[in-house]
């Protein structure tokens, strides 16, 4: 089973044998891969019923709960790695979610789309909301609730005392970009962060 490129990239950041909590795990592809190929154990969290049934069919332990309000169910320091993959823009309480992640695990992997990407900025200049292959939804039917640029996301990490150990800016098609510093906020369609609480 081949893993979606953005998930393959996340998988590489998870040390073999880790206990992994994947928040917003969808149909469980990442965890299924980590369990089968990485010797990991783990739990997925998802709320979409169809994705949940699919993940259960892949043999992924999956707990149905609301990431915004119910992460209290997990104990302190109970996972090695906590993943929030392309989900941070779909929750209501980013501060609570990131704080809880840091409580539950020591290594956090967060990926997020970048609304500060230059093409998005051009669309805004033309008076239109950002829409791209990566963010294909019109403003009125998007599952995304909170929009951020990489710059402001990193400011939030800093405010919460989360140290960025690694940042991988991605092209709109999901390939890692060789850009550094503040240029990433212009050049990257998304980014993956490895954080330490």
């Amino acid at each position: 089973m081949s893993l979606r490129p953005d998930l393959a990239l996340v998988a590489e950041l998870v040390p073999a044998g880790s206990r992994v909590l994947d928040l917003g795990c969808g149909s469980g592809a990442l965890l299924a891969h980590l369990i089968a190929a990485g010797g990991c154990r783990g739990t997925g969290v998802e709320i979409d019923p169809e994705a949940v049934v699919e993940a259960i069919g892949l043999g992924v332990p999956l707990i149905e709960l609301d990431i915004d309000t119910q992460l209290d169910e997990f104990a302190d320091a109970s996972y090695d790695v906590v993943v929030l993959s392309r989900t941070i823009q779909t929750v209501h309480r980013q501060v609570d979610v990131l704080t809880q992640m840091a409580r539950i695990g020591s290594r956090l992997i967060v990926s997020a789309p970048n609304f500060g990407w230059w093409r998005h900025r051009l669309r805004l200049l033309r008076g239109r909301m950002p829409v791209s292959k990566d963010l294909p939804h019109a403003w009125y039917d998007t599952p995304n609730l909170r929009f951020t640029t990489l710059l402001e996301l990193e400011e939030l990490f800093a405010r919460l005392g989360l140290k960025v150990e690694q940042r991988i800016p991605l092209s709109p098609t999901g390939e890692p970009l060789k850009v550094t510093g503040s240029l990433a906020n212009l050049a990257a369609g998304a980014a993956v962060y490895v954080l330490k609480g």
Binding site: T43, V52, V53, I56, G59, P61, L62, E64, F74, A75
Partner: protein, 383 residues
């Protein structure tokens, strides 16, 4: 002719078998130290045990269930109580799995219970029947497995009191059970839960015909008390919305003048539930089996999770969002305990308007979850 041809997907005509699992010479040693023998267990099986003996699924029934979970008894018009789940092509697919369902010890549908004859006295046990704990139910299940030549279950599954047996079993003997499926259950009753049971038991025990539990010898039964217990319990099995949708404030039977008799449809429904229940259920079984639930608190024990930590079981815990008998919080507690102990546990809260009874109903999302989970479980056991 009341006889109905079984639908496609039915296991067809079935019959209940009985096994004598313990005897006077080789009694069941119970949790409270008492010995009980003989112990007969009524059970049914569906599908075939495969050569590798790794496709068995054990069903633990709830408070008032019995061994007849699927298919039709000869001449019957109604199928077993979990027929929507068990059969060819159904989630518990009898083309794939060997399904076992016994009547509980302490019950009254063919297994030894308080209305059975005590060999020491030649009369029904009555209140001399030993108090049952969840572990006693599990001990008898294990004896049945040995009798059937099954060492390890693909899965044990149960709803309500059935789920509690599964939980106790997997915690105590994780090597027996590859997958434990715990539905609409609880690991510890709340004061409200116990309160409902207390009123039910009081209704039975204060019925003048109860006679200190020796009613059978007098050829009577505390039917009034038992039917009131059932009426009240039945209210807790359904959500308020379900009762509203089923009955609203409809009058039934139609009465011209206000009075104190049965006037509303919901009253006549409960009346019927109570009356039909006393025809199939024994008051002493009701007392003993409700008490099993009251005392159940497996996580309170020291090292409760030690065995399962050494031999992990895969768990599936399911609740229903309108269940107020054992609501989602009960299931979440089970999930928390297991997940904190590092067990591979899956949990779903299924949306259903029907309350606690949902576990018996054909709810697509619920059945899809069980189907998907069991198919995967079978793949893993084989690999």
């Amino acid at each position: 002719m009341g006889h109905q041809v079984p639908d496609a997907g039915s296991v067809g005509i079935v019959s209940t078998a009985t096994a004598t699992l313990f005897s006077v010479e080789n009694p069941l040693r119970m949790s409270n130290g008492a010995d009980l023998g003989p112990v007969d267990v009524a059970y049914e099986t569906y599908g075939e045990l495969n050569e590798a003996r790794d496709n068995a699924i054990f069903i633990c029934h709830a408070l008032t269930g019995d061994a007849h979970a699927a298919g039709f008894h000869e001449g019957a018009t109604r199928p077993g109580w979990w027929d929507n789940l068990i059969g060819p092509g159904k989630p518990l697919d009898t083309e794939r799995y060997f399904v076992i369902c016994p009547n509980l010890i302490g019950g009254c549908q063919g297994s030894t219970g308080p209305s059975s004859i005590n060999p020491e006295t030649g009369r029904a046990y009555g209140l001399e029947f030993p108090v049952l704990m969840m572990r006693d139910l599990v001990a008898v299940h294990r004896a049945l497995l040995a009798h059937l030549g099954v060492d390890r279950l693909l899965a044990a599954i149960g709803g309500s009191l059935g789920g509690m047996q599964v939980l106790q079993w997997a915690l105590d003997y994780p090597q027996d059970v590859a997958n434990a499926i715990v539905i609409a259950a609880s690991s510890r009753l709340t004061a409200q839960n116990i309160a409902f049971s207390a009123v039910a038991r009081r209704a039975i025990m204060t019925d003048p015909q109860f006679s200190q539990g020796e009613y059978a010898a007098n050829g009577v039964s505390p039917e009034t008390g038992l039917s009131i217990a059932r009426m009240m319990a039945h209210i807790t099995y359904l959500s308020e919305d379900a009762l509203t949708e089923k009955f609203g404030r409809q009058a039934h039977p139609a009465v011209d003048e206000p009075g104190l008799g049965v006037h509303f449809a919901v009253e006549s429904y409960l009346d019927h539930q109570g009356k039909s229940f006393v025809e199939r259920f024994d008051a002493l079984s009701y007392l003993y089996l409700t008490r099993v639930m009251d005392y159940f608190d497996p996580f309170a024990e020291h090292e409760a999770l030690a065995r399962v930590t050494e031999h992990p079981v895969r768990w599936l815990v399911i609740s229903f969002d309108t269940d107020w008998r054992f609501g989602t919080e009960h299931s979440r507690r089970i999930v928390r305990r297991l997940e904190h102990a590092g067990q591979p546990v899956s949990f779903r809260e299924i949306t259903s308007p029907w309350g606690h009874d949902s576990f018996l109903l054909e709810i697509p999302d619920y059945h899809a979850t069980l189907r998907s989970y069991l198919q995967r479980a079978q793949l893993e056991v084989r690999s």
